[in-house]
Protein backbone atom coordinates (compact mmCIF):
# COMPACT_ATOMS: atom_id res chain seq x y z
CA UNK A 1 0.00 0.00 0.00
CA UNK A 2 1.42 3.41 -0.91
CA UNK A 3 1.96 5.80 2.01
CA UNK A 4 0.38 8.65 0.05
CA UNK A 5 -2.03 8.38 -2.82
CA UNK A 6 -3.82 11.12 -4.77
CA UNK A 7 -6.61 10.54 -7.27
CA UNK A 8 -7.74 13.16 -9.77
CA UNK A 9 -6.73 15.96 -7.38
CA UNK A 10 -8.01 19.28 -8.71
CA UNK A 11 -7.86 22.83 -7.44
CA UNK A 12 -9.03 26.01 -9.15
CA UNK A 13 -8.10 29.59 -8.31
CA UNK A 14 -10.93 31.50 -9.92
CA UNK A 15 -11.00 30.16 -13.46
CA UNK A 16 -7.42 28.97 -13.39
CA UNK A 17 -6.75 25.28 -12.84
CA UNK A 18 -3.79 25.41 -10.46
CA UNK A 19 -3.78 21.64 -10.10
CA UNK A 20 -5.77 19.63 -12.57
CA UNK A 21 -6.67 15.95 -12.18
CA UNK A 22 -3.29 14.95 -10.86
CA UNK A 23 -2.76 11.34 -9.79
CA UNK A 24 0.20 10.46 -7.64
CA UNK A 25 1.37 7.64 -5.49
CA UNK A 26 4.31 7.57 -3.12
CA UNK A 27 5.77 4.41 -1.60
CA UNK A 28 7.02 4.16 1.96
CA UNK A 29 10.68 5.12 2.30
CA UNK A 30 11.00 6.81 -1.08
CA UNK A 31 12.32 10.25 -1.84
CA UNK A 32 10.12 11.77 -4.51
CA UNK A 33 11.00 14.97 -6.34
CA UNK A 34 8.34 17.39 -7.51
CA UNK A 35 9.62 19.66 -10.25
CA UNK A 36 8.27 22.01 -12.87
CA UNK A 37 8.40 25.64 -13.95
CA UNK A 38 7.18 28.41 -11.64
CA UNK A 39 3.40 28.41 -11.39
CA UNK A 40 3.16 24.75 -12.31
CA UNK A 41 1.17 23.99 -9.15
CA UNK A 42 3.85 22.33 -7.03
CA UNK A 43 3.30 24.34 -3.86
CA UNK A 44 -0.46 24.20 -4.43
CA UNK A 45 -0.19 20.42 -4.44
CA UNK A 46 1.69 20.57 -1.11
CA UNK A 47 -1.00 22.87 0.25
CA UNK A 48 -3.65 20.36 -0.81
CA UNK A 49 -1.84 17.42 0.80
CA UNK A 50 -1.28 19.32 4.07
CA UNK A 51 -4.87 20.69 3.98
CA UNK A 52 -3.88 24.34 3.83
CA UNK A 53 -6.25 24.28 0.83
CA UNK A 54 -9.26 22.10 0.08
CA UNK A 55 -9.32 20.41 -3.33
CA UNK A 56 -12.28 21.10 -5.60
CA UNK A 57 -12.46 17.42 -6.43
CA UNK A 58 -10.42 14.27 -6.10
CA UNK A 59 -9.16 12.49 -3.03
CA UNK A 60 -5.94 12.15 -1.06
CA UNK A 61 -5.19 9.10 1.06
CA UNK A 62 -2.48 8.77 3.70
CA UNK A 63 -1.70 5.16 4.65
CA UNK A 64 -5.08 4.18 3.22
CA UNK A 65 -7.08 6.77 5.23
CA UNK A 66 -8.86 9.51 3.35
CA UNK A 67 -7.42 12.82 4.56
CA UNK A 68 -9.05 15.07 1.95
CA UNK A 69 -11.41 16.80 4.38
CA UNK A 70 -9.19 16.99 7.44
CA UNK A 71 -7.69 20.14 8.95
CA UNK A 72 -3.95 20.96 8.99
CA UNK A 73 -3.35 20.19 12.67
CA UNK A 74 -4.96 16.73 12.35
CA UNK A 75 -2.92 15.86 9.30
CA UNK A 76 0.21 16.97 11.10
CA UNK A 77 -0.60 14.77 14.09
CA UNK A 78 -1.28 11.81 11.77
CA UNK A 79 2.30 12.03 10.57
CA UNK A 80 2.52 14.42 7.62
CA UNK A 81 4.84 17.37 8.29
CA UNK A 82 5.88 20.19 5.99
CA UNK A 83 8.16 23.16 5.51
CA UNK A 84 7.31 26.34 3.64
CA UNK A 85 8.63 27.87 0.44
CA UNK A 86 9.00 31.25 2.12
CA UNK A 87 10.46 30.50 5.54
CA UNK A 88 7.84 30.49 8.28
CA UNK A 89 9.69 30.12 11.55
CA UNK A 90 8.40 31.78 14.73
CA UNK A 91 10.76 34.76 14.59
CA UNK A 92 10.82 35.91 18.21
CA UNK A 93 10.82 32.44 19.72
CA UNK A 94 14.12 30.77 20.50
CA UNK A 95 15.14 27.93 18.20
CA UNK A 96 14.49 25.34 20.90
CA UNK A 97 10.97 26.69 21.48
CA UNK A 98 10.23 26.55 17.75
CA UNK A 99 11.06 22.85 17.82
CA UNK A 100 9.40 22.12 21.17
CA UNK A 101 6.09 23.35 19.80
CA UNK A 102 6.23 20.44 17.37
CA UNK A 103 7.00 17.94 20.15
CA UNK A 104 4.13 19.30 22.25
CA UNK A 105 1.40 19.57 19.66
CA UNK A 106 2.39 17.69 16.53
CA UNK A 107 2.28 14.22 18.04
CA UNK A 108 -0.67 12.06 18.99
CA UNK A 109 0.67 11.19 22.44
CA UNK A 110 1.42 14.23 24.56
CA UNK A 111 4.74 14.41 26.37
CA UNK A 112 6.08 16.11 29.47
CA UNK A 113 8.05 19.35 29.21
CA UNK A 114 11.36 17.71 30.04
CA UNK A 115 10.72 14.95 27.51
CA UNK A 116 9.85 17.54 24.86
CA UNK A 117 12.96 19.56 25.72
CA UNK A 118 15.13 16.50 25.43
CA UNK A 119 13.67 15.50 22.09
CA UNK A 120 13.88 19.04 20.72
CA UNK A 121 17.54 19.24 21.74
CA UNK A 122 18.29 15.95 19.98
CA UNK A 123 16.57 17.12 16.82
CA UNK A 124 18.40 20.47 16.84
CA UNK A 125 21.63 18.52 17.10
CA UNK A 126 20.50 16.23 14.27
CA UNK A 127 20.03 19.20 11.91
CA UNK A 128 23.23 20.85 13.15
CA UNK A 129 21.73 23.71 15.15
CA UNK A 130 22.82 22.69 18.66
CA UNK A 131 24.82 25.92 19.00
CA UNK A 132 21.78 28.06 18.20
CA UNK A 133 19.43 26.58 20.81
CA UNK A 134 18.71 29.85 22.60
CA UNK A 135 18.91 32.13 19.56
CA UNK A 136 15.65 33.76 18.46
CA UNK A 137 14.76 32.34 15.05
CA UNK A 138 14.87 35.76 13.38
CA UNK A 139 18.58 36.08 14.17
CA UNK A 140 19.49 32.89 12.30
CA UNK A 141 20.81 32.88 8.73
CA UNK A 142 18.42 31.84 5.96
CA UNK A 143 20.11 28.48 5.72
CA UNK A 144 19.73 27.92 9.46
CA UNK A 145 16.12 29.10 9.45
CA UNK A 146 15.42 26.47 6.81
CA UNK A 147 17.10 23.84 8.98
CA UNK A 148 15.02 25.03 11.91
CA UNK A 149 11.85 24.51 9.86
CA UNK A 150 12.99 20.99 9.09
CA UNK A 151 13.73 20.43 12.79
CA UNK A 152 10.28 21.70 13.75
CA UNK A 153 8.71 19.37 11.20
CA UNK A 154 10.78 16.42 12.46
CA UNK A 155 9.67 17.14 16.01
CA UNK A 156 6.12 16.19 15.02
CA UNK A 157 7.34 12.62 14.37
CA UNK A 158 6.40 12.53 10.70
CA UNK A 159 6.22 9.47 8.49
CA UNK A 160 5.97 11.72 5.48
CA UNK A 161 7.87 14.97 5.14
CA UNK A 162 7.03 17.62 2.53
CA UNK A 163 10.03 19.86 1.81
CA UNK A 164 9.23 22.98 -0.21
CA UNK A 165 12.40 24.37 -1.81
CA UNK A 166 14.62 24.07 1.22
CA UNK A 167 17.67 24.73 -0.97
CA UNK A 168 16.46 27.92 -2.64
CA UNK A 169 18.75 30.84 -1.84
CA UNK A 170 21.47 28.68 -0.31
CA UNK A 171 25.11 28.74 -1.42
CA UNK A 172 26.98 25.68 -2.70
CA UNK A 173 28.23 24.59 0.71
CA UNK A 174 24.81 24.99 2.26
CA UNK A 175 23.20 23.02 -0.58
CA UNK A 176 25.63 20.19 0.07
CA UNK A 177 24.76 20.28 3.78
CA UNK A 178 21.04 20.25 2.98
CA UNK A 179 21.52 17.24 0.69
CA UNK A 180 23.34 15.44 3.46
CA UNK A 181 20.53 16.28 5.87
CA UNK A 182 17.92 14.86 3.49
CA UNK A 183 19.93 11.67 3.15
CA UNK A 184 20.09 11.32 6.92
CA UNK A 185 16.35 11.95 7.29
CA UNK A 186 15.70 9.27 4.71
CA UNK A 187 17.88 6.86 6.68
CA UNK A 188 15.49 7.28 9.58
CA UNK A 189 12.82 5.72 7.38
CA UNK A 190 10.92 8.93 6.74
CA UNK A 191 9.32 9.24 3.31
CA UNK A 192 10.10 12.56 1.61
CA UNK A 193 8.47 14.57 -1.14
CA UNK A 194 10.59 17.54 -2.13
CA UNK A 195 9.97 20.50 -4.38
CA UNK A 196 13.29 21.74 -5.65
CA UNK A 197 14.85 23.69 -8.49
CA UNK A 198 18.39 22.58 -7.71
CA UNK A 199 18.60 19.82 -10.32
CA UNK A 200 21.84 18.40 -8.98
CA UNK A 201 20.10 17.66 -5.68
CA UNK A 202 16.93 16.33 -7.27
CA UNK A 203 18.83 14.01 -9.60
CA UNK A 204 21.07 12.52 -6.94
CA UNK A 205 18.55 12.26 -4.07
CA UNK A 206 15.29 11.18 -5.64
CA UNK A 207 14.06 7.68 -6.40
CA UNK A 208 11.30 9.08 -8.54
CA UNK A 209 10.40 12.45 -9.99
CA UNK A 210 7.02 13.93 -10.84
CA UNK A 211 6.98 16.82 -13.30
CA UNK A 212 4.11 19.29 -13.18
CA UNK A 213 3.32 21.81 -15.88
CA UNK A 214 0.33 24.18 -15.93
CA UNK A 215 -1.27 22.17 -13.15
CA UNK A 216 -1.04 18.86 -14.98
CA UNK A 217 1.26 15.94 -14.53
CA UNK A 218 3.62 16.08 -17.49
CA UNK A 219 5.87 13.15 -16.70
CA UNK A 220 6.83 10.75 -13.96
CA UNK A 221 9.64 8.29 -13.53
CA UNK A 222 13.19 7.71 -12.40
CA UNK A 223 15.58 10.68 -12.63
CA UNK A 224 17.11 9.18 -15.79
CA UNK A 225 13.72 8.72 -17.46
CA UNK A 226 12.62 12.23 -16.61
CA UNK A 227 15.91 13.84 -17.62
CA UNK A 228 15.74 12.21 -21.03
CA UNK A 229 12.07 12.93 -21.68
CA UNK A 230 11.66 15.20 -24.69
CA UNK A 231 8.66 16.97 -23.18
CA UNK A 232 10.37 17.68 -19.88
CA UNK A 233 13.42 19.06 -21.62
CA UNK A 234 11.23 21.30 -23.72
CA UNK A 235 9.13 22.85 -20.91
CA UNK A 236 11.47 22.75 -17.96
CA UNK A 237 15.01 21.59 -18.20
CA UNK A 238 15.85 23.45 -21.40
CA UNK A 239 18.55 22.49 -23.91
CA UNK A 240 20.97 19.76 -22.93
CA UNK A 241 23.82 22.04 -21.98
CA UNK A 242 21.61 23.73 -19.36
CA UNK A 243 20.13 20.54 -18.00
CA UNK A 244 21.31 20.15 -14.45
CA UNK A 245 24.68 21.35 -13.35
CA UNK A 246 26.55 18.13 -14.05
Amino acid sequence: MPILEGKEVTKYFGGLAAVSRVDFSVEQGQVVGLIGPNGAGKTTLFNLISAALKPKSGSIKFKGTDITDLTPYKICRMGVARTFQTVKVFPKMEAIDNVMLGSFFGVLRGMSSSEAFGRASEILEFVGLEEAKATPAKDLTLSNQKRLEVARALATNPELLLLDEIMAGLNQTEVAQAMDLITRIREKGITIIMIEHVMRAIMSLCDRIIVLHHGRKLAEGTPQEVASSEQVIRVYLGEKRHAGSK
Binding site: A52, Y73, F90, M93, M100, F104, V107, A116, R152
Partner: protein, 326 residues
Protein backbone atom coordinates in the same frame (compact mmCIF):
# COMPACT_ATOMS: atom_id res chain seq x y z
CA UNK B 1 14.40 47.58 21.34
CA UNK B 2 15.90 44.13 21.01
CA UNK B 3 17.90 44.32 24.18
CA UNK B 4 15.55 42.17 26.30
CA UNK B 5 15.41 39.28 23.84
CA UNK B 6 19.03 39.52 22.78
CA UNK B 7 20.38 39.49 26.32
CA UNK B 8 21.86 36.08 27.10
CA UNK B 9 19.87 34.00 29.51
CA UNK B 10 21.51 33.24 32.79
CA UNK B 11 20.82 29.61 33.55
CA UNK B 12 22.93 29.40 36.69
CA UNK B 13 20.92 27.96 39.54
CA UNK B 14 21.71 30.63 42.11
CA UNK B 15 20.63 33.47 39.89
CA UNK B 16 17.43 31.68 38.93
CA UNK B 17 16.57 30.81 42.51
CA UNK B 18 17.23 34.26 43.85
CA UNK B 19 15.13 35.84 41.13
CA UNK B 20 12.29 33.42 41.69
CA UNK B 21 12.30 33.80 45.46
CA UNK B 22 12.56 37.57 45.03
CA UNK B 23 9.41 37.62 42.90
CA UNK B 24 7.54 35.28 45.25
CA UNK B 25 8.62 37.25 48.30
CA UNK B 26 7.57 40.53 46.74
CA UNK B 27 4.20 39.10 45.72
CA UNK B 28 3.55 37.76 49.23
CA UNK B 29 4.43 41.11 50.83
CA UNK B 30 2.26 42.97 48.33
CA UNK B 31 -0.61 40.57 48.93
CA UNK B 32 -0.27 40.90 52.72
CA UNK B 33 -0.27 44.69 52.52
CA UNK B 34 -3.21 44.74 50.14
CA UNK B 35 -5.29 42.23 52.07
CA UNK B 36 -4.88 44.16 55.33
CA UNK B 37 -5.17 47.68 53.94
CA UNK B 38 -8.93 48.13 54.66
CA UNK B 39 -8.01 47.98 58.38
CA UNK B 40 -5.72 51.00 58.33
CA UNK B 41 -6.12 52.77 54.97
CA UNK B 42 -8.61 55.55 54.38
CA UNK B 43 -11.95 54.92 52.74
CA UNK B 44 -10.73 56.89 49.73
CA UNK B 45 -7.66 54.66 49.34
CA UNK B 46 -9.77 51.52 49.51
CA UNK B 47 -12.11 52.78 46.80
CA UNK B 48 -9.20 53.92 44.63
CA UNK B 49 -7.45 50.57 45.07
CA UNK B 50 -10.63 48.78 44.03
CA UNK B 51 -10.70 50.80 40.83
CA UNK B 52 -7.04 50.02 40.22
CA UNK B 53 -7.71 46.31 40.79
CA UNK B 54 -10.55 46.45 38.28
CA UNK B 55 -8.31 47.94 35.62
CA UNK B 56 -5.56 45.44 36.36
CA UNK B 57 -8.06 42.59 35.98
CA UNK B 58 -9.26 43.98 32.64
CA UNK B 59 -5.74 44.64 31.38
CA UNK B 60 -4.23 41.34 32.47
CA UNK B 61 -7.13 39.35 31.04
CA UNK B 62 -6.96 41.38 27.82
CA UNK B 63 -3.24 40.67 27.54
CA UNK B 64 -3.82 37.00 28.33
CA UNK B 65 -5.36 36.61 24.89
CA UNK B 66 -4.38 39.61 22.78
CA UNK B 67 -0.77 39.87 23.97
CA UNK B 68 0.65 36.65 22.54
CA UNK B 69 -1.79 36.15 19.65
CA UNK B 70 -1.73 39.73 18.36
CA UNK B 71 -5.50 39.70 17.91
CA UNK B 72 -6.40 43.15 19.20
CA UNK B 73 -9.79 42.81 20.83
CA UNK B 74 -11.90 45.89 21.55
CA UNK B 75 -14.53 43.75 23.23
CA UNK B 76 -13.58 44.17 26.93
CA UNK B 77 -16.48 46.60 27.39
CA UNK B 78 -18.86 43.98 25.97
CA UNK B 79 -17.67 41.26 28.35
CA UNK B 80 -17.51 43.66 31.30
CA UNK B 81 -20.99 44.92 30.42
CA UNK B 82 -22.36 41.39 30.22
CA UNK B 83 -21.12 40.88 33.78
CA UNK B 84 -22.66 44.17 34.90
CA UNK B 85 -26.01 43.23 33.42
CA UNK B 86 -25.95 39.76 34.91
CA UNK B 87 -25.45 41.38 38.28
CA UNK B 88 -28.29 43.81 37.63
CA UNK B 89 -30.72 41.12 36.51
CA UNK B 90 -29.86 38.54 39.17
CA UNK B 91 -28.91 40.89 42.01
CA UNK B 92 -32.03 40.25 44.05
CA UNK B 93 -32.40 36.62 43.00
CA UNK B 94 -29.13 34.80 43.50
CA UNK B 95 -26.53 34.82 46.27
CA UNK B 96 -23.47 37.00 45.62
CA UNK B 97 -20.86 34.32 44.76
CA UNK B 98 -23.28 32.74 42.28
CA UNK B 99 -23.86 36.11 40.61
CA UNK B 100 -20.15 36.71 40.16
CA UNK B 101 -19.50 33.27 38.68
CA UNK B 102 -22.60 33.60 36.51
CA UNK B 103 -21.40 37.00 35.26
CA UNK B 104 -18.14 35.38 34.24
CA UNK B 105 -19.88 32.46 32.56
CA UNK B 106 -22.25 34.69 30.60
CA UNK B 107 -19.26 36.63 29.28
CA UNK B 108 -17.42 33.40 28.48
CA UNK B 109 -20.39 32.05 26.50
CA UNK B 110 -20.61 35.33 24.64
CA UNK B 111 -16.89 35.07 23.88
CA UNK B 112 -17.26 31.48 22.68
CA UNK B 113 -19.99 32.46 20.22
CA UNK B 114 -18.24 35.62 19.06
CA UNK B 115 -14.88 33.86 18.91
CA UNK B 116 -16.18 30.95 16.85
CA UNK B 117 -17.72 33.43 14.42
CA UNK B 118 -14.92 35.95 14.12
CA UNK B 119 -11.55 34.58 15.11
CA UNK B 120 -10.91 33.64 11.50
CA UNK B 121 -10.83 37.38 10.83
CA UNK B 122 -7.36 38.82 11.03
CA UNK B 123 -5.97 42.25 11.73
CA UNK B 124 -8.20 45.25 11.38
CA UNK B 125 -11.33 43.18 10.62
CA UNK B 126 -11.20 41.50 13.99
CA UNK B 127 -10.62 44.85 15.70
CA UNK B 128 -13.62 46.38 13.94
CA UNK B 129 -15.87 43.44 14.72
CA UNK B 130 -15.10 43.44 18.42
CA UNK B 131 -15.59 47.22 18.44
CA UNK B 132 -18.97 46.76 16.78
CA UNK B 133 -19.93 44.08 19.28
CA UNK B 134 -20.00 46.58 22.15
CA UNK B 135 -22.28 48.92 20.21
CA UNK B 136 -24.45 46.01 19.08
CA UNK B 137 -25.03 44.76 22.61
CA UNK B 138 -25.62 48.27 23.91
CA UNK B 139 -28.28 49.04 21.32
CA UNK B 140 -29.83 45.61 21.51
CA UNK B 141 -30.37 45.96 25.25
CA UNK B 142 -31.60 49.55 24.85
CA UNK B 143 -34.10 48.36 22.27
CA UNK B 144 -35.13 45.43 24.47
CA UNK B 145 -35.68 47.61 27.49
CA UNK B 146 -37.66 50.24 25.61
CA UNK B 147 -39.80 47.88 23.56
CA UNK B 148 -40.12 44.69 25.55
CA UNK B 149 -39.75 45.41 29.26
CA UNK B 150 -40.67 49.08 29.03
CA UNK B 151 -37.96 50.18 31.42
CA UNK B 152 -34.57 51.79 31.08
CA UNK B 153 -31.99 51.13 33.68
CA UNK B 154 -32.00 48.94 36.73
CA UNK B 155 -31.24 49.15 40.38
CA UNK B 156 -28.43 46.95 41.65
CA UNK B 157 -28.21 45.84 45.27
CA UNK B 158 -25.17 47.59 46.72
CA UNK B 159 -22.38 46.19 48.84
CA UNK B 160 -20.10 47.92 51.28
CA UNK B 161 -16.72 49.13 50.04
CA UNK B 162 -14.69 46.58 51.95
CA UNK B 163 -16.59 43.62 50.49
CA UNK B 164 -16.18 44.97 46.96
CA UNK B 165 -12.51 45.51 47.70
CA UNK B 166 -11.92 41.93 48.81
CA UNK B 167 -13.94 40.50 45.94
CA UNK B 168 -11.93 42.47 43.42
CA UNK B 169 -8.68 41.49 45.12
CA UNK B 170 -9.65 37.81 44.87
CA UNK B 171 -10.43 38.13 41.17
CA UNK B 172 -7.14 39.97 40.70
CA UNK B 173 -5.17 37.15 42.31
CA UNK B 174 -7.10 34.56 40.28
CA UNK B 175 -6.48 36.30 36.95
CA UNK B 176 -2.77 36.83 37.64
CA UNK B 177 -2.28 33.18 38.63
CA UNK B 178 -4.22 32.04 35.55
CA UNK B 179 -2.19 34.29 33.26
CA UNK B 180 1.03 33.07 34.87
CA UNK B 181 0.25 29.40 34.46
CA UNK B 182 -0.97 29.80 30.88
CA UNK B 183 2.14 31.76 29.96
CA UNK B 184 4.43 29.15 31.49
CA UNK B 185 2.60 26.21 29.92
CA UNK B 186 2.77 24.69 26.46
CA UNK B 187 -0.42 26.58 25.66
CA UNK B 188 1.40 29.84 26.23
CA UNK B 189 3.97 28.73 23.70
CA UNK B 190 1.21 27.80 21.27
CA UNK B 191 -0.55 31.16 21.72
CA UNK B 192 2.71 32.91 20.94
CA UNK B 193 3.22 30.75 17.86
CA UNK B 194 -0.23 31.79 16.66
CA UNK B 195 0.77 35.43 17.01
CA UNK B 196 4.05 34.96 15.17
CA UNK B 197 2.85 32.75 12.34
CA UNK B 198 -0.58 31.23 12.55
CA UNK B 199 -0.23 29.12 9.42
CA UNK B 200 2.96 27.46 10.60
CA UNK B 201 1.37 26.85 14.02
CA UNK B 202 -1.52 24.98 12.41
CA UNK B 203 0.88 22.84 10.37
CA UNK B 204 2.87 22.06 13.51
CA UNK B 205 -0.17 20.44 15.09
CA UNK B 206 -1.70 23.32 17.04
CA UNK B 207 -5.51 23.33 16.90
CA UNK B 208 -5.47 27.08 16.41
CA UNK B 209 -9.24 27.68 16.33
CA UNK B 210 -9.92 25.76 19.54
CA UNK B 211 -7.03 27.37 21.34
CA UNK B 212 -7.95 30.91 20.28
CA UNK B 213 -11.64 30.54 21.14
CA UNK B 214 -10.93 28.91 24.51
CA UNK B 215 -8.39 31.52 25.54
CA UNK B 216 -10.71 34.30 24.40
CA UNK B 217 -13.42 32.81 26.62
CA UNK B 218 -11.07 32.49 29.62
CA UNK B 219 -10.09 36.12 29.20
CA UNK B 220 -13.75 37.15 28.93
CA UNK B 221 -14.59 35.19 32.10
CA UNK B 222 -12.48 37.47 34.28
CA UNK B 223 -13.82 40.60 32.60
CA UNK B 224 -17.35 39.37 33.30
CA UNK B 225 -16.66 38.70 36.97
CA UNK B 226 -15.11 42.16 37.30
CA UNK B 227 -18.26 43.67 35.76
CA UNK B 228 -20.52 41.70 38.08
CA UNK B 229 -18.64 43.01 41.13
CA UNK B 230 -18.32 46.60 39.96
CA UNK B 231 -22.06 46.81 39.22
CA UNK B 232 -22.72 46.70 42.95
CA UNK B 233 -20.83 49.94 43.40
CA UNK B 234 -23.08 51.89 41.05
CA UNK B 235 -26.56 51.38 42.58
CA UNK B 236 -28.20 52.26 39.30
CA UNK B 237 -27.09 51.10 35.85
CA UNK B 238 -28.38 51.49 32.32
CA UNK B 239 -27.00 50.09 29.06
CA UNK B 240 -24.87 53.17 28.43
CA UNK B 241 -23.15 52.80 31.77
CA UNK B 242 -22.71 49.04 31.43
CA UNK B 243 -21.40 49.01 27.86
CA UNK B 244 -18.98 51.90 28.03
CA UNK B 245 -16.50 51.85 25.15
CA UNK B 246 -13.84 53.56 27.25
CA UNK B 247 -13.48 50.24 29.04
CA UNK B 248 -12.53 48.67 25.71
CA UNK B 249 -9.80 51.18 24.94
CA UNK B 250 -8.26 51.64 28.37
CA UNK B 251 -7.05 48.04 28.82
CA UNK B 252 -5.34 48.24 25.42
CA UNK B 253 -3.63 51.53 26.31
CA UNK B 254 -2.66 50.27 29.74
CA UNK B 255 -1.18 47.07 28.30
CA UNK B 256 0.85 49.05 25.75
CA UNK B 257 1.92 51.52 28.43
CA UNK B 258 3.06 48.71 30.71
CA UNK B 259 4.54 46.49 28.01
CA UNK B 260 3.29 43.03 27.16
CA UNK B 261 6.54 41.08 27.17
CA UNK B 262 6.32 40.24 30.87
CA UNK B 263 3.40 39.49 33.15
CA UNK B 264 4.20 42.44 35.42
CA UNK B 265 3.92 44.83 32.44
CA UNK B 266 0.13 45.03 32.23
CA UNK B 267 -0.13 45.00 36.04
CA UNK B 268 2.25 47.93 36.38
CA UNK B 269 0.75 49.69 33.37
CA UNK B 270 -2.82 49.49 34.68
CA UNK B 271 -1.86 50.48 38.22
CA UNK B 272 0.25 53.50 37.28
CA UNK B 273 -2.11 54.59 34.52
CA UNK B 274 -5.14 54.51 36.82
CA UNK B 275 -3.35 56.25 39.65
CA UNK B 276 -1.97 58.88 37.28
CA UNK B 277 -5.42 59.60 35.90
CA UNK B 278 -6.86 59.93 39.40
CA UNK B 279 -3.96 62.11 40.54
CA UNK B 280 -4.23 64.43 37.53
CA UNK B 281 -8.02 64.74 37.81
CA UNK B 282 -7.84 65.80 41.44
CA UNK B 283 -4.78 68.08 41.15
CA UNK B 284 -5.25 69.59 37.71
CA UNK B 285 -8.93 69.29 36.85
CA UNK B 286 -8.59 71.73 33.95
CA UNK B 287 -5.39 70.48 32.39
CA UNK B 288 -5.64 66.80 33.20
CA UNK B 289 -6.52 65.60 29.70
CA UNK B 290 -3.75 67.73 28.24
CA UNK B 291 -1.09 66.44 30.64
CA UNK B 292 -2.37 62.92 30.26
CA UNK B 293 -2.16 63.21 26.48
CA UNK B 294 1.42 64.44 26.63
CA UNK B 295 2.42 61.57 28.91
CA UNK B 296 0.80 59.07 26.53
CA UNK B 297 2.54 60.52 23.48
CA UNK B 298 5.92 60.55 25.21
CA UNK B 299 5.56 57.01 26.47
CA UNK B 300 4.56 55.71 23.03
CA UNK B 301 7.43 57.56 21.35
CA UNK B 302 10.15 56.66 23.81
CA UNK B 303 8.93 53.53 25.57
CA UNK B 304 8.23 51.27 22.63
CA UNK B 305 8.29 48.19 24.87
CA UNK B 306 6.40 49.96 27.62
CA UNK B 307 7.53 50.12 31.22
CA UNK B 308 8.82 46.56 30.94
CA UNK B 309 11.25 47.66 28.24
CA UNK B 310 12.40 50.55 30.41
CA UNK B 311 12.91 48.33 33.46
CA UNK B 312 14.88 45.81 31.41
CA UNK B 313 17.01 48.52 29.86
CA UNK B 314 17.87 49.93 33.28
CA UNK B 315 18.46 46.44 34.66
CA UNK B 316 20.84 45.54 31.83
CA UNK B 317 22.70 48.81 32.29
CA UNK B 318 23.19 48.35 36.03
CA UNK B 319 24.14 44.72 35.48
CA UNK B 320 26.80 45.74 32.97
CA UNK B 321 28.18 48.44 35.25
CA UNK B 322 28.39 45.95 38.11
CA UNK B 323 30.23 43.40 35.97
CA UNK B 324 32.30 45.82 33.94
CA UNK B 325 35.46 45.21 35.96
CA UNK B 326 35.39 41.42 35.70
Amino acid sequence: MDIPSAAPRDFSATNFLSRKSFVIGLSVIALLLLSTSPFYASRYTVVLLTTIFMYIVLTVSWTLFSGPTGYVSLAPAAFFGAGVYTSALMGFVLPLPAIIVLGGLVSSCLALVVGALTLRLRGIYFVMFTFGLVELLLHFILWWEVNITGTTGRVVPTLDNTTVYYLMLSILVAVILTAYFIKKSRFGLALQSIGECEEAAAHTGVHVTALKVTTFAVSAFFMGTAGAVMATRWTYIDPRIAFNLTLSFLPVLMAIFGGMGQLYGPILGAAIFTYLEEFLITRFPYYYMLIFGIIMVISILYLSDGLVGLVQKLWNRSWRVKHADT
